[in-house]
Symmetry: C2
Subunit: 295 residues, 2 copies
C-alpha cells in the first residue's frame, strides 16, 4: 500500500466525516429475495434496532415499504417504519421526527434524488437523520438514495452515451460523504461516460460508479465492496488534458489520464490516499483500521 | 508530448505494420445520410479508385451493399463492388480475387466477426486484401469489421455488465493492427466492462473502445479520431492488481490502476508511446509525422 504522503494530505478531507456512523451506498436493485447480501449487511449493523425506510425519493411510494418489509423479513431488524413526505411542510412535523427516536438507521429507497433534497434538505427531519448518523447509526441508500449521499450529487445525464459538454445536471446533495460523486446502476446502464464527465468538471471529486446489487460500506475514510457486481473508481488527479471548458456544447468530452480501478466483493478503498486495498491484503491482516476493526 | 523512451521501446511493435496503407476502424452505425463524415474520409482516401464492400460478416448480406451504394453516392469513389462469400471455397475463386484488381480499398460491413475470419482467413482472398493494404490502400471496417482488424479479436462477451471471470470469447483476427484489442458500439452498449476484462487478460494489449458513428484513422503507429462520438483507450501497463487468474468463474473482475483516455474528434494517439495528442497540439503544428503529414 502507498504510504501517507502528498496524496493523503491533498485528499484528507475525503470520505465520511470522522467519528460518525456507517454509510451503505447501493447501486440499485439490491437482491431482496435470494442471498440478500446487502440487506443482511444493513441488518447486521442495525443490530436489532429500529430502521426507518425513507421512501421520500418516490413520487408514488406505494409498494416500496412493503417490498422492504419482505426483504428484511427474518433478518435482525427490530422495527421497520416508513418515512414518507408528501409536502416539504411535513418535514417539520413531530410525528415524522419521532420516527427516528432511538432509530439505529435509515434506508433511502430509489426514485428521484431531487425529491429527497427538495423535500427534506435543511429541515428538522434532515437534522434528525444526521443525528442518527452522528451517533454511530447507519444511513443506507439505493439508486437515487445512493446519489444523494454526496455533497454535489449527479441528478441526470445520458446513459449509454459518451459524455457531451453540458450534458449533466448536478445539485447539492445531503453531503454525508465528501470529495466523491456517486453514480448507480453503473454497468447496467452504461454510465462510465457521465461519471467521467462529472470528474472532468472538477477532478477534486473522485468518481464512484456502483453496479446494481452492489454496495460500498463506508466508515471514516475507507469503504469496502459487498454484493454481486463491481464498483468503479475514477481518479482524475492525474488528468493532463480536458476540453470541458473550451469545447462547444454537445461536443464529446476529451479527457486524458484518468486512473480507473475496478473493485469487487471484499476489495476496499482508502479515500484519502486514493488507493485500493485488495481483499487478499485485508485477509492477510494488513489494511486494518487504527481501532482494530477490519476496514 | 512524452519523449520516446522506455514506453516507446516497450510498445514499439504496436500499431499498424510500418510502410502500409490506412486502416479506418469504425464503431458501427456510421452516418450514411447526413454529414457522412466517416464515409467522406473513406472516399477521400480512396481518391476515385475502386472500393470493395465486403459484406462477408453477414449471414444475410441482402441490403448491406445497397445501403453503402446510397451512403457513398456523390462522394469521390470510382467504383463500388460487392464481395460476398457464402462458402469458404469461394475465397479462392478467380472472380472473387479479381474484384481487388486495381482496388484502392476494401470496406468490411458489420455482422459476425467469426464469419469474416472463418470464411476468408488464410485464403487467397485474404492475401489479396493484404496486398491492397501493403500497397498503400485503405482497409475500413465497421462493427464486426472493426473488431476483426486485431491480431486477437473480441468475439463475444456481455454488454451492460461488469466483466466476470471467464465471460469473454476471443479469437485470432486478421492481424492488420498489432498490440491492441478493439471493441465497438462502445458507449451505446455499455462495453467498458468487457474491454477492461480483455485488457486484464494481458495488459500488453491496449484496449480501444469506439463509439457508434465514430472512427479511428490509423497510419503507422498513430491514429486520429473522426466522427461524432468518443474513443476510449484503456492502458493496462500500470495495473497493480488483478484477480483474473485467481478468482472463480463468474466472479466480477477486480483490477487496479488502469490508465484511461477519452478521445474525441481531432484527438490523436501514439500507440508506441501510449500517449494521446490533443487536437490543439496537432493544430499548433506539433505532432507532425516525419513525412510532414499531420498525424
Amino acid at each position: 500500500m502507498a504510504k501517507a504522503g502528498e496524496a493523503a494530505d491533498k485528499h484528507e478531507d475525503c470520505g465520511a466525516r470522522p467519528g460518525k456512523g456507517t454509510l451503505i451506498i447501493i447501486g440499485g436493485h439490491e437482491d431482496k429475495a435470494h442471498g440478500r447480501e446487502i440487506l443482511k449487511e444493513v441488518a447486521r449493523r442495525v443490530r436489532g434496532g429500529r430502521l426507518v425506510i425513507a421512501t421520500v425519493a418516490s413520487h408514488k411510494p406505494e409498494g416500496y415499504f412493503e417490498s422492504y418489509q419482505e426483504g428484511f423479513d427474518g433478518l435482525d431488524v427490530g422495527e421497520l417504519l416508513e418515512l414518507y413526505v408528501e409536502e416539504r411542510a411535513e418535514a417539520s412535523r413531530q410525528e415524522k421526527l419521532e420516527l427516528f427516536d432511538g432509530a439505529a438507521g435509515v434506508f433511502f429507497s430509489g426514485g428521484d434524488q431531487l425529491r429527497i433534497t427538495s423535500q427534506i434538505g435543511d429541515t428538522p427531519l434532515e437534522a434528525r437523520i444526521r443525528e442518527v448518523y452522528e451517533a454511530g447509526g447507519v444511513v443506507a441508500g439505493t439508486s437515487a438514495g445512493a446519489s444523494v449521499m454526496c455533497e454535489t450529487m449527479l441528478v441526470s445525464g445520458h446513459s449509454r452515451e459518451s459524455y457531451r459538454i453540458g450534458d449533466l445536471q448536478m445539485a447539492p446533495g445531503l453531503g454525508l460523504v465528501r470529495g466523491v460523486i456517486i453514480d448507480q446502476h453503473f454497468a447496467e446502464r452504461g454510465r462510465i461516460g457521465r461519471l467521467l464527465g462529472a470528474v472532468a468538471q472538477n477532478p477534486r471529486v473522485l468518481g464512484i460508479g456502483i453496479d446494481e446489487d452492489t454496495a460500498i460500506v463506508l466508515e471514516g475514510g475507507q469503504f469496502q465492496v459487498i454484493g454481486n457486481g463491481a464498483v468503479y473508481v475514477a481518479d482524475g488527479a492525474g488528468i493532463t488534458h480536458s476540453n470541458i471548458a473550451e469545447a462547444r456544447r454537445d461536443e464529446p468530452l476529451s479527457l486524458y489520464g484518468v486512473r480507473l480501478h475496478v473493485l469487487s466483493r471484499g476489495d476496499a478503498f482508502d479515500l484519502a490516499r486514493r488507493q485500493p486495498v485488495s481483499a487478499e491484503t485485508l485477509e492477510a491482516g494488513e489494511g486494518q483500521r487504527s481501532d482494530g476493526r477490519a476496514v
